[in-house]
């Protein structure tokens, strides 16, 4: 039983997103630009 708990907690610590997910987010952020026009704001994805 104790083994189970130890294994679970170890498993939990290694939880993190895939590198590609993080890279996607950083690329998405760089590509996204917000254009302000008068009081309106438009989003544009520029690749």
């Amino acid at each position: 039983m104790a083994k189970l708990y130890i294994e679970d907690s170890k498993h939990f610590e290694t939880l993190k997103p895939k590198e590609e997910t993080v890279n996607f987010l950083l690329n998405y952020s760089q590509a996204l630009s917000v254009i302000s026009c008068n009081k309106l704001k438009f989003e544009a994805l520029l690749n």
Binding site: F12, L15, V22, L25, L26, Y28, L32
Partner: protein, 194 residues
């Protein structure tokens, strides 16, 4: 080490003013906490990955649109977004149940015998009959909307066109129909489970 000296608020402010690297620091700093939080709710790696991604897409859009106004509370704010997206995921899944296609594929999750046994089908009939009788007790306008929605599978738009009332009125009648049904069920301790 240097990264830790910069507060989240400063990083957010830098990011808003165009410093893209600030986002990388924020993600690196909080990714494990946010990812673990999502995983602790959904227990599925792929879903966690999706929700994590959607969370940060929302964060990025909100920051870039200048809508962020919770300075000093970046992590709780991101956690709240993640939490809401987890709820959305479960809502969506309850409407469209999927079979588990994980590493240990279980054929019975796809072809299991979902037909009820004799006892259960009798109970089901009784429950359906009870529900029908309860619906008969509802005021006519509420009953009409409920029957059209639940038994005739009509949309609220179709119901409003058929009954000549607005969609909002139809929605209101449906809501009151359900409230009234619950009231009667509670009052008489009626059990409607199979």
């Amino acid at each position: 080490m240097k990264q830790e000296l910069i507060t989240d608020a400063e990083l957010v402010s830098n990011y808003i003013t165009g410093d893209e690297s600030a986002l990388s620091v924020l993600i690196t700093r909080h990714k494990q906490k946010i990812y673990s939080f999502i995983y602790s709710k959904v227990y599925d790696r792929d879903v966690t990955e999706d929700v994590f991604q959607d969370t940060f897409i929302k964060v990025i859009r909100t920051l870039k649109l200048g809508k962020y106004n919770e300075e000093g509370k970046f992590l709780p704010w991101v956690m709240r977004i993640a939490h809401n997206l987890v709820i959305d995921h479960f809502r969506k899944n309850s409407r469209m149940p999927k079979f588990d296609n994980g590493q240990e594929f279980n054929i019975f999750s796809v072809i299991s015998d979902s037909s009820l046994n004799a006892e259960k089908s009798i109970i089901k009939e009784q429950v359906q009959e009870d529900v029908r009788r309860l619906i008969e007790e509802l005021p006519e306008d509420q009953k009409q909307v409920l029957v059209m929605r639940m038994y005739n599978d009509m949309s609220f738009k179709e119901i409003s066109e058929n009954t000549g009332v607005s969609i909002n009125t139809a929605l209101g009648r449906m809501r009151y129909a359900l409230i009234n049904l619950r009231k009667v069920i509670d009052k008489h301790n009626i059990v409607l489970t199979n």
